[in-house]
């Protein structure tokens, strides 16, 4: 087992090289590739990439044998004007047994490490894992940290070096949780619980997105995993658990925004508070929790930058940005939008 893994690790850059060479002329060099599966930052991800390297090289071997064989035959046995009638060979038992056994052997060399990897990654997580509940929604991600009492959306904050167990489920249709650099994907199934365990070992922001077609805005269901040092993660937890600025300390504009947020509209589903929760303000659960929303890396599940302009555009007409968005176009006045933007951006 150790031997195969070592050779697989050695193979990784070669895998990339081989692919790159095949495409270099046509494609040139682009990148970086933030969702690359070749650049894992967990032992889980490295397991998968290593196994891929192993199978890739067996594949290259088969490819070379078959394609060289075909090309050789085409050149060597091309019909010639003086060619004689070929000998009608109907078969050759020994040869045919040989090329039945050859793929069978290759399969064994692939299947054994495959099954070893399946069982290694299916095992229980390491001691004291951080448990995160990830819930898929059309078309955003809810992340809950029971250990810390935090509910957030679209940014998955994780500490470096501590095992994580992500519990996966869905609030509506099937989604699939995928951050390629953290490892493989796993489906989020309504009515079922799935699990993914890994230990992030590198600090950084890793892009992910939904990998199971989940309706109109499947393409717009993106998120980020943000891996912090242990200290930074503790600081993030503390910040999430700190209260927002008190109502009195808000500026006039921000207070107008809070009022607009609280306003009960007709129909009631047009009210912000019907779907969104903000501590001490509202309890909605259909849409993303907005606690400390100003500190998030993106808006609308990775589709918009978290800026005042983008937030205003979102409030004006969500469906124009994210087709099918379940957040309605409310018909807010420009003044309400300005006020809401100011208020929401105060939620640091």
């Amino acid at each position: 087992m150790i031997r195969y893994r070592r050779s697989a690790l050695r193979a990784k850059p070669l895998v990339m090289l081989a692919f790159a060479a095949l495409l270099a002329g046509a494609v040139g060099c682009q990148g970086p590739f933030p969702q690359s599966t070749f650049d894992p930052t967990t032992s889980f991800g490295r397991d998968l990439a290593g196994l891929f390297g192993l199978i890739f090289w067996w594949g290259v071997g088969v490819f070379v044998v078959v394609e060289v064989g075909v090309v050789y035959v085409l050149i060597r046995f091309r019909a010639r004007p003086d060619g004689e009638q070929p000998v009608p060979i109907h078969g050759h038992t020994a040869l045919e047994i040989a090329w039945t056994l050859a793929p069978a052997m290759i399969i064994v060399f692939i299947a054994v490490p495959t099954i070893q990897t399946i069982w290694r990654d299916a095992g229980p997580a390491a001691d004291n894992p951080l448990e995160v509940q990830a819930i898929g929604h059309q078309w955003w991600w809810e992340f809950r940290y029971p250990e810390y009492g935090i509910v957030t959306a679209n940014d998955l904050h994780l500490p470096q070096g501590r095992a994580v167990t992500v519990q996966l489920t869905s609030a509506d249709v099937i989604h699939s949780f995928w951050v390629p650099r953290l490892g493989g994907k796993r489906d989020m199934l309504p009515g079922r619980n799935n699990r993914l365990s890994f230990t992030p070992d590198s600090v950084g922001e890793f892009l992910g997105q939904c990998a199971e077609f989940c309706g109109l805005s499947h393409a717009n269901m993106r998120f980020r995993a943000i891996v912090h040092t242990a200290d930074d993660f503790a600081a993030w937890v503390a910040a999430q658990n700190s209260p927002h600025a008190s109502e009195d300390s808000l500026s006039t504009l921000e207070q107008q925004g809070l009022a607009a947020f609280r306003a009960v509209r007709t129909p009631a589903s047009n009210s912000c508070i019907a779907c969104h929760a903000i501590q001490n303000v509202s309890f909605g659960v259909l849409g993303p929790n907005l606690n400390h929303v100003a500190g998030r890396s993106t808006l609308a599940a990775g589709v918009l930058n978290n800026t005042a302009e983008d937030l205003a555009a979102w409030l004006r007409d969500p469906a124009a940005i994210k087709p099918g968005s379940l957040m309605p176009t409310i018909g807010l006045s420009q003044q309400e939008i300005t006020a809401l933007v100011a208020y929401l951006r105060s939620l640091r």
């Binding site: 692919f19 495409l23 046509a26 494609v27 990148g31 590739f33 969702q35 690359s36 599966t37 998968l48 196994l51 891929f52 199978i55 088969v62 490819f63 078959v66 075909v70 035959v73 085409l74 046995f77 019909a79 060619g83 070929p86 000998v87 009608p88 078969g91 050759h92 045919e96 090329w99 039945t100 069978a104 290759i106 399969i107 692939i110 299947a111 495959t114 399946i118 299916a122 059309q138 996966l168 099937i174 493989g184 994907k185 199934l189 309504p190 009515g191 079922r192 799935n194 699990r195 990998a211 199971e212 077609f213 309706g215 109109l216 805005s217 499947h218 393409a219 717009n220 993106r222 099918g324």
Partner: protein, 607 residues
């Protein structure tokens, strides 16, 4: 027009019964397997071009990051209809065109076992295809993917008619496929000429036979799944409703229990075609005929035990993952054996690289790549990084375009002179081939990398931050090249009909029985039913008894019937009734069906 229900059967002499068969009415009421084959071919090729156009629009949208050419809604409809069209309306019926035209000729029969059922299959297929595509006219084309995963397809998450069009359309097409499958099984078992033992059957007929057996077993599974889905949508059952204790994974198990054998339904006929072309153009018999036949059977059997390899990301647990992974890899063995036997067939031959041969060789080259990437996601751990990404899109297109379509193109160039009596132009054919070969690789090879670098499938847009814009553009350029190459093919069809070289009986010097009579064959196929004494009748001295140019005695040819068309219309009306939820329409459709089947059953047996 207005011919009586049962046109008197015609007695074809040396000049055939051309008069009774002419005109549009002759084609509508035809029960001649050759004409039905042409109808299948023309219709399926039209749907193939339509599906290709849908693919071009998909590629244009993805040519740039954050592109706004096509919106999310249209895009989702396009990829759903592209997949559905290519599988059910293009590849399967293009294969059916060959089953129809070639199988009776290869086994020495005058027609299929049930000629009117054969016509019925075609009309149901045509109407089903029109039903599915008519959804575009209502702006309600299916948009849940060709795999239609529950519970996205539920009335709650897909309230429009889109999914109903899809589910009902597939049911219609299933009827056509099942009727045809029973017909060909009966034909191949019962209608073989004397001496045409099973182990003398041409490999194309063998692979088609296995395909039909798979169809008979697989389509009931999807039928059940679709009935569940429609009952959930129409009558409030809860098969897939989580809130009521249903299970979304039930759909996936049923769908893939059908869907994986379906892959072999698509590829086995093409493997059969290639197995005919390679020996002909190498002037050598197929290497290891029995092993090729047995490995086809093995593929057809093992194909039933692997369906959950489409579901590794659903978290089935290590035992199921290990089992489905290992059995899936086993399929590589019979597939590998076939590939080596094909190469061995060419070994030592006198290889003529005519257009059919070019496509057959390309099949080996490209299908091998698809097979290799298939083993990569047969391994669940690696599949977790590949499933639902463009890597799998690359894989299926190497298998279904590089495999099935290349095989079918090979078959088209190979059998065209037999079907239409004129050869296709070789120069245009070679241009077509090279453009397809290059275009196919430029389109689909980069998708391997696009997927491994993190692009999921079925996304109508992607951000520039992924760094995948250039590769996507390359892929789009390849798709345009592919689209252009099809124009050359169509031009070649047209050119050949005017100026193509007149085909002799056996223009390629092939060994099988369909090349023993004139091109195109007379309406009665064989002037006398031959006796076959060899697996390679035309390459063996005395391999088949003499087939005179002129029938020594009159040959009875059954007349046409319009009841199969009426029955097909009845089925269409029933499904339209289901779509618009009109009980009266549904009942009316059933009545039409019952009456026409009754009339059909008691149609006078013309003599």
């Amino acid at each position: 027009m207005g011919a009586p229900a049962a046109t008197a059967g015609s007695v074809a002499g040396a000049h055939g019964a051309a008069d009774a068969r002419s005109g549009v009415w002759g084609w509508i009421t035809t029960t001649d397997h050759k004409r039905i084959g042409i109808l299948y071919g023309v219709t399926a090729f039209f749907f193939f071009l339509l599906g290709g156009l849908e693919a071009l629009l998909i590629r244009l949208q993805l040519a740039r990051a954050d592109n706004t050419l096509i919106g999310a809604e249209t895009f989702n409809q396009l990829f759903t209809m592209h997949g559905t069209t290519m599988v059910f309306l293009a590849i399967m019926p293009m294969s059916a065109a060959f089953f129809n035209f070639i199988i009776p000729l290869q086994i020495g029969a005058r027609d299929v076992a049930f000629p009117r059922l054969n016509a019925f299959s075609y009309w149901v297929f045509l109407l089903g295809g029109l039903f599915l595509n008519s959804s575009f006219l209502f702006g309600a084309a299916p948009d849940g993917g060709w795999f239609g995963y529950a519970n996205l397809t539920s009335i709650q998450y897909s309230p429009g008619m889109n999914i109903s069009f899809w589910a009902l359309g597939l049911q219609i097409l299933g009827i056509a496929s099942l009727a045809a499958a029973f017909n060909f099984i009966a034909t191949i078992i019962n209608m073989r000429a004397p001496g045409m033992k099973l182990m003398r059957l041409p490999v194309f007929t063998w692979m088609s036979f296995i395909t039909q057996l798979i169809v008979v077993a697989a389509f009931p599974v999807i039928t059940v799944a679709l009935v569940f889905l429609m009952f959930d949508r129409m009558f409030g059952t809860t098969f897939f409703s989580v809130a009521a204790g249903g299970d979304v994974l039930l759909w996936q198990h049923l769908f893939w229990l059908f869907g994986h054998p379906e892959v072999y339904i698509l590829i086995l006929p093409a493997m059969g075609m290639v197995s005919e072309v390679l020996p002909t153009f190498s002037r050598k018999p197929l290497f290891g005929y029995p092993v090729i036949v047995y490995s086809g059977m093995l593929i057809g059997v093992i194909g039933w035990a692997v369906w959950s390899h489409h579901m590794f990301a659903t978290g089935m647990g290590p035992i199921a993952d290990s089992y489905f992974s290992s059995v899936t890899m086993l399929i590589a063995i019979p597939t590998g054996v076939k590939i080596f036997n094909w190469i061995a067939t060419m070994w030592g031959g006198q290889i003529r690289l005519a257009t059919p041969m070019l496509f057959a060789v390309a099949f080996i080259i490209l299908f091998t790549i698809g097979g290799i990437s298939g083993v990569m996601h047969a391994s669940p751990p690696t599949d977790l990084q590949q499933t639902d990404t463009y890597f799998v899109v690359a894989h299926i297109h190497y298998v279904l375009f590089g495999g099935a379509i290349m095989g079918i193109f090979s078959g088209i160039y190979y059998w065209w002179p037999k079907v239409f009596g004129r050869l296709l132009d070789e120069r245009l054919g070679k241009w077509h081939f090279w453009l397809v070969f290059i275009g196919m690789n430029v389109t689909f090879f980069p998708m391997h990398l696009i997927g491994l670098l993190g692009m999921p499938r079925r996304v109508y847009t992607y951000g520039p931050e992924l760094g995948l814009e250039q590769m996507n553009l390359v892929s789009t350029v390849g798709a345009l090249l592919l689209g252009f190459s099809m124009l050359i093919m169509v031009y070649n069809f047209w050119w050949s009909s005017k100026h193509g070289e007149i085909a002799q009986n056996n223009p390629w010097g092939a060994a099988t029985l369909e090349w023993a009579m004139s091109s195109p064959p007379p309406v009665y196929n064989f002037s006398v039913i031959p006796e076959v004494r060899s697996r390679l009748p035309l390459w063996t001295v005395g391999g088949v008894t003499e087939i005179p140019d002129v029938p020594p005695e009159p040959v009875h040819v059954p007349g046409g019937s319009y009841w199969p068309v009426v029955a097909a219309v009845g089925i269409l009306v029933f499904f339209i009734g289901a779509l618009v939820q009109s009980l009266w329409l549904a009942v009316g459709g059933v009545l039409v069906l019952v009456v026409s089947v009754f009339k059909w059953a008691f149609e006078p047996f013309e003599m």
